[in-house]
């Protein structure tokens, strides 16, 4: 494929980079990324990947846009409230960069559809807000042998790390299973600084671009934790765990399954949560 004059102008700040150049830009145009979740992490990741000229972007999300999403989910704007997130996301990406081919799925990622969907893409971005799906994504990427950029956010903090299945530590190497229900805030009640989602999602996009372009050192075998209160990044070295139930020496997980979803509900105001 060859770029036309507009495309050369559009991507000129990439092409100027010796590590990218016209050759790298072509790699991006031929690459595909799958965004799992079009929310706080998926929004910045999707926008930057689209702007960068990634050729094909898949988006899966079953939700509709809620007014409370707009504080951070920058793919969605005020007139989108009530619309499916995937439709809103698809439109914004298409307006930003018509070169991108967008594929969207208004459904949940499940043990039934995960592998088939993930296999169609080069890099996966985890932008989901619950532990069972994070583990499902980790496992599916392992079975599909597809690199995964994991992300998580909570209040003032964020975490990101990359996984090259069978080569670097996976999510289960560190966290064996979801936390017991109710012990860890992972739902709406926890709150999040919107811009923190922007930081983590943008790092996820950067890592995806690096993997596609084959430049620098991937964020594998290390976890990057960000704390907005102190504005500090901390890197924690990790390594593959021989006892990992998925990628260890004696794997117990040989097919996809879903951990039980934690019921996430906000008590009506003025009442006390009973659990």
């Amino acid at each position: 494929m060859d770029f036309n004059e507009d495309q050369i102008t559009r991507y000129s700040r990439h092409i100027l980079l010796p590590e990218v150049g016209g050759k790298g830009q072509k790699k991006l145009a031929q690459a595909s990324v799958f965004l799992i979740g079009a929310g706080g992490l998926g929004s910045p990741a999707g926008l930057y990947l689209a702007a960068a000229g990634v050729g094909r972007i898949g988006i899966i999300d079953s939700d509709v846009v809620d007014l409370s999403n707009l504080q951070r989910q920058v793919l969605h704007h005020t007139p989108d409230v009530g619309r499916p997130k995937v439709r809103s996301a698809e439109e914004k990406i298409q307006v930003l960069n018509p070169d991108v081919q967008v594929e969207y799925y208004q459904e949940r990622l499940t043990a039934q559809n995960a592998l088939e969907l993930i296999k169609q893409y080069d890099v996966i971005i985890d932008g989901v807000d619950n532990f069972p799906t994070k583990f499902l994504i980790n496992d599916a990427c392992y079975f599909a042998d597809t690199p995964l950029i994991h992300g998580g956010i909570l209040r003032f903090e964020g975490r990101v790390f990359s996984i090259k299945p069978k080569q670097s530590a996976c999510y289960r190497c560190i966290f064996k299973q979801p936390p017991p229900p109710g012990l860890v805030a992972n739902c709406q009640e926890a709150g999040i600084i919107g811009a923190v989602a922007g930081i983590i999602g943008t790092i996820q996009a950067t890592e995806a671009l690096k993997l596609i372009l084959g430049i620098g050192q991937p964020l594998t075998d290390r976890i990057l934790d960000f704390d907005a209160r102190k504005t500090t990044f901390r890197e924690i070295k990790i390594k593959r765990n021989p006892n990992c139930a998925l990628c260890g020496l004696h794997p117990e997980i040989t097919e996809l399954f879903e951990h039980e979803q934690e019921i996430c509900q906000l008590p009506p105001s003025g009442t006390v949560a009973v659990s």
Binding site: G40, L41, Q73, G127, D129, F175, N243
Partner: protein, 66 residues
């Protein structure tokens, strides 16, 4: 005894990883524990001893994304 917890040196008593967790008031179910870059299985926390200069990481769950 001085050990490094999440990047910060701390003076603590306690001879096992589980004791350090208790001293820090952390529920073992809330964290993944790394000792000198090695993940410690939950059922090994009580039997894994800790010594001067060890590096301990308590990795809390971070599950949000949307």
């Amino acid at each position: 005894m001085t050990i490094t917890i999440n990047g910060k040196p701390e003076v603590l008593e306690g001879s096992t990883v589980l004791e350090v967790l208790k001293l820090k008031d952390i529920d073992p179910q809330m964290v993944a524990v790394e000792l000198n870059t090695q993940i410690i299985e939950r059922d090994q926390l009580a039997t894994t001893s800790i010594k001067e200069g060890d590096q301990v990481e308590f990795l809390f769950y971070m599950g949000g994304g949307s």
